[in-house]
Symmetry: D2
Subunit: 125 residues, 4 copies
């Protein structure tokens, strides 16, 4: 339903571990950078806390390594009143290295779920 957003990222030593591959938790950080780039300028959270990850699943198919040029493809797969589902693929040379799905809640400044701002829905779906 929504447009696919593409975010390029180059793997640095900071992302790797002693197995010579990208450390499994780093995918989550790279994915957050991709979502940030995707949301940038599309809406304002004002005093709200904003989006918080409630559940996350990631499957690792083939490892990423130092200097790899990755493209993270982000797409919304479902939108509720206060919750969004997102899928993010880690692509290298058109093959999928990992797939992540997230359930993300929108929180107001009291840390409670809150209706997602209109501009978000309008711009990104």
């Amino acid at each position: 339903m929504s447009k696919v957003h593409k975010f390029p990222f180059v793997i640095a030593f900071a992302d790797t571990d002693a197995e010579g591959i990208v450390y499994h938790a780093r995918y989550l950080e790279i994915a957050e950078r991709a979502r940030m780039n995707w949301l940038k300028g599309h809406f304002s959270i004002g005093d709200d806390v904003g989006f918080v990850v409630k559940e996350l699943n990631i499957k690792y198919f083939s490892p990423l390594r130092l200097s790899d040029e990755v493209v993270v493809e982000t797409v919304m797969t479902d939108v509720g009143a206060a919750v969004v589902k997102i899928e993010q693929k880690f692509m290298k040379n058109d093959s999928v290295c990992a797939i992540m799905t997230l359930r993300v809640a929108y929180l107001g400044k009291d840390m409670q779920p809150k209706r997602i701002p209109e501009e978000f829905i309008r711009d990104l779906i």
Copy 2:
């Protein structure tokens, strides 16, 4: 089936983000420290790459904050020839703040799946 391993950990600034709570990717790092402590001394991987995370699911129930004293409870839930399933709970004052499940493969030095060493099975299940 297996014994529960408990690993205490104190949240530092390094673990938190600007929302004032532990950053969602950090749970994975803390969980790795817990697994490392659990496996310590139980078996040797020799020249093998060792365990690599293939799939991971995490549900976040209530946020962790700076200075929180967390206990990570680790338990094996399934063991195959080259794959292990693990559940890890993030506990604070006896309530569950997050639950993570992992499917972890054992890899030889050629990065291919390999039979898990005997001592691992014997000691930890």
Copy 3:
């Protein structure tokens, strides 16, 4: 002048990089955990921001690796009205692997320098 505080820490994959050694920025995180453990229970920052690193120097002598058991030795080397100097050594089997020195300022809730709480001086020097 002040007592030496010792903090043990075990190196995990999260701390290493593709060179097979601890990533240089990770020393700063481990050092923060050591300072946190050192300060724990000694004083309250109330509404203040607390200590913020203003300058930092680190010399790396010999690399740390996966599973290494490190002890971080922390000592205060100077105390001013709103600034403290700290030295932290990364020890492995009684040899120094890295030395870090920091200049740390105490900030009030307005992010401005503020007099360090009395209990801090009394307890830790």
Copy 4:
């Protein structure tokens, strides 16, 4: 002496801590991404370990925050046979937020210092 390399970077939640500012160790990771971008395509390390940080100094002047668009300016300040000195400035809207200086050694595959490859000197100075 050398040309100034500029690397833009956007601050994500992953980079921040509970004080609402970029965590002090994260500057080192961002700086590494900048150096990687700077070196990219300029020379090959073959089987060598490559550059390793031996000493580092960083002064923090004014904090960086979520969504800040930073430019890291990298410049070589000295070149020896096996050692390079580098200065990196974190710029926001033309003001300097932090300055880092590094002494970096080139290591061969035996982890010993080794003469820096010719193309490195030729291209980057």
